[in-house]
């Protein structure tokens, strides 16, 4: 799989496997009660399939409640020589609840212990939590300099948050930011700012959760027909061609294969523009209900 290079020289895979769908609490909140055993099996099968098929980037977060499960999976992967630690690019995030304790060193240790790792490739603040995130980011910078994490970033930021960090005179600006980005929310301003500051952009909910209006969109369907690819593949390719790292979440082998089989075709400039024109700034995850005061 192709790689991209961050502004600190670290290599990062150009597509990442997300694990938010394996959030035990969320699953039960929405009526899907999954036993730990079943969840572990589904996740193990999904992650191993993905890794065997070339996915080396894995994204999680403390708030997905699956770090310990992933820890066991990583342990199995390394023990059975399916992949080496240095071949994987592992991300986790510090949630809002943990940010309020203001002890990032401790939170990192908890995550590393749960994931059974001795370093992280990318460590992120999950939200720019008002009143907390700037101080916590300063702690992030210190930890980054100590070498326990190879790169640091923030998810769910807007331009104003990056500017606030700059104004706070932080030692290191984020190497990566992760936001909701898809053809219906193209985050033009943020993309421009990231280009200027050489910050890598990652896109979660990369295919807008395949909501009905996405599935039925005429432009995407027309392009899918034209390139003989699925809608998902068109969208993933659109991300890749503009240098954004899309994150897809699935445990299903067919879906995993579909999401990564996107390196054998190219969208024309005109078709890229047609997809950009779909933008309606649609936020599937409204930020403030996840982070009050956002």
């Amino acid at each position: 799989m192709q790689k991209r290079i961050l502004n600190n020289g670290i290599e990062i895979p150009s597509i990442m496997l997300g694990t938010s769908i394996c959030d035990r609490q969320s699953l039960s909140r929405f009526g899907n009660h999954v036993s730990d055993k079943l969840l572990f099996k589904q996740m193990t099968d999904g992650v191993i399939y993905a890794v065997r098929n070339g996915v080396t980037g894995i994204d999680t977060g403390r708030d997905y409640n699956n770090e310990p499960i992933l820890g066991k999976i990583f342990n199995d992967l390394f023990k059975n020589h399916i992949v080496k630690r240095e071949e994987l690019f592992i991300t986790t995030k510090v949630g809002n609840g943990q940010q309020r304790f203001c002890d990032m060193e401790k939170e990192l240790d908890i995550s590393l212990k749960s994931l059974k790792l001795d370093y992280l490739d990318l460590w992120m603040l999950h939200w720019p939590l008002p009143d907390f995130y700037i101080d916590n980011w300063k702690q992030f910078c210190k930890i980054y300099k100590s070498g326990k994490v190879k790169a640091i970033g923030i998810a769910n930021v807007r331009e104003r948050h990056l500017l606030e960090l700059e104004q706070a005179d932080v030692e290191v600006m984020p190497q990566i930011i992760q936001v909701e980005c898809h053809p219906f929310r193209t985050v033009g301003g943020l993309r421009k700012l990231c280009n200027e500051k050489n910050i890598q952009l990652e896109a979660y909910t990369a295919n807008c959760a395949m909501l009905p209006f996405v599935r039925e969109n005429a432009v995407l369907n027309e392009l899918a027909k034209k390139y003989r690819k699925s809608l998902t593949q068109i969208i993933m390719r659109w991300h890749l061609q503009q240098g954004i790292i899309p994150i897809f979440s699935s445990n299903n082998p067919n879906h995993i294969s579909e999401n990564i089989d996107v390196f054998n075709f190219e969208l024309t400039e005109d078709d890229m523009k047609r997809i950009f024109d779909l933008n309606i700034d649609y936020k599937y995850h409204p930020e403030s209900v996840n982070c009050p005061g956002y």
């Binding site: 929405f30 104003r160 936020k283 409204p286 403030s288 209900v289 996840n290 009050p292």
Partner: protein, 353 residues
């Protein structure tokens, strides 16, 4: 609460064991008391569960359907609202969005602090550049005074907000533990409510009333009743007392909070609009020119440092017709539609759907 209960049960059990060595009869009596207590608690909890299903309870939270929290947004895909409003009862009765993509975020009695909390939690539903209407009513400027009057802003006032805000925000509400317990066990705190299990009230449909239900003399009386109740609420005798020294700190804190809300919106690329809501001629006539200047316009001028739009309909002749209201203060459904349409037109967002 659970901890206290466990401690009580442990102490009671120990006491029973201790007493047993002196008199088995007293121990038996204590055991009977324990069973009776458990039985009564069981009955009360069952009744509580039934009460939570009554209209009397649910009527207090009818507004919650206007708020899609973290738990609901995956099933409710509406986003990018053109306009929302905050505010108290006049706003709840003042806005009905049918030709624009909008939401009424007034919950009934609602002061600036709760306006702000709602804005903080839900503002991402508003599109970039969307409008946030911040209603200003005759007593908005000093409404923070009511925080000092537990009979008005009591646990039941905060219960509404505990239902729709994030848990971190709820944890900052006054007496939040008691508020949360009251929400789970209202009957335990007020057993008299059990009457509604057997004689329930109908679903509250006041907001659907389409006409004026009062006649001229009743309207006059209603207007005077409102004025009297405000004077009682704020403990004043004459109008001039409203802008006296007693309320200065509350006026100032109101100014600060409104300015802060305006700044909050502007920083997030939302367009705050200060708006007054019409009242019928019967009630409008009760407010002197001096009152209007001191309590509304001076307040708006002091808070509106960023010079955002101020739409003033409170004493607007177009909406003073009593037929647009139900009573002297609140617009009826018909008036609400006409008024909302006018606001949308004034903001240039009519027929946006």
């Amino acid at each position: 609460m659970k901890k206290k209960l466990k401690i009580f049960v442990a102490i009671y059990t120990l006491a029973m064991i201790g007493v047993f060595f002196f008199s088995w009869k007293i121990t038996l009596l204590m055991l009977v008391f324990l069973f009776m207590g458990c039985f009564s608690c069981g009955i009360l909890l069952c009744l509580n569960k039934v009460y939570l299903k009554t209209n009397h309870w649910k009527n207090q939270f009818l507004f919650t359907k206007n708020f899609i929290s973290n738990n609901g947004y995956r099933d409710n895909l509406g986003r990018n609202l053109d306009i929302v409003n905050l505010g108290s009862n006049p706003a709840l009765n003042g806005f009905f969005y049918e030709k624009v993509r909008g939401a009424n975020w007034a919950t009934g009695s609602q002061g600036f602090p709760m306006d702000f909390e709602i804005l903080k939690y839900y503002h991402s539903y508003v599109k970039e550049g969307g409008y946030v209407l911040i209603p200003i009513m005759p007593f908005s400027s000093i409404s923070n005074f009511l925080e000092t009057c537990p009979q008005y802003w009591s646990d039941s006032y905060y219960m509404k907000f505990a239902k729709i805000l994030d848990c971190e925000q709820v944890n900052k509400l006054p007496n939040f533990r008691k508020v949360l317990l009251k929400m789970r066990f209202p009957l335990v705190f007020n057993p008299k409510l059990a009457i509604f299990i057997f004689h329930d009230v109908p679903v509250d449909s006041n907001l659907l009333i389409n006409e004026q239900t009062m006649q001229a003399t009743e309207l006059e009386y209603d207007a005077k009743k409102w004025i009297k109740s405000w004077k009682t609420e704020f403990c004043v005798k004459e109008y001039k007392d409203f802008w006296g020294e007693k309320f200065k700190p509350f006026f100032d804190s109101g100014v600060n909070m409104l300015s802060e809300m305006i700044d909050y919106c502007l920083y997030r690329n939302l367009k705050p609009v200060l708006v007054t809501i019409p009242m019928s001629s019967y009630l409008a006539n009760e407010f002197t020119l001096e009152f209007r200047q001191k309590m509304i316009y001076d307040f708006v001028n002091a808070a509106n440092k960023k010079n955002v739009r101020f739409l003033d309909y409170m004493f607007d002749d177009r909406f003073s017709n009593p037929e647009l209201f139900n009573g002297s203060f609140f617009l009826n459904m018909n008036g609400r539609k006409i008024f909302t349409d006018q606001v949308a037109r004034d903001l240039g967002i009519q027929d946006k759907l």
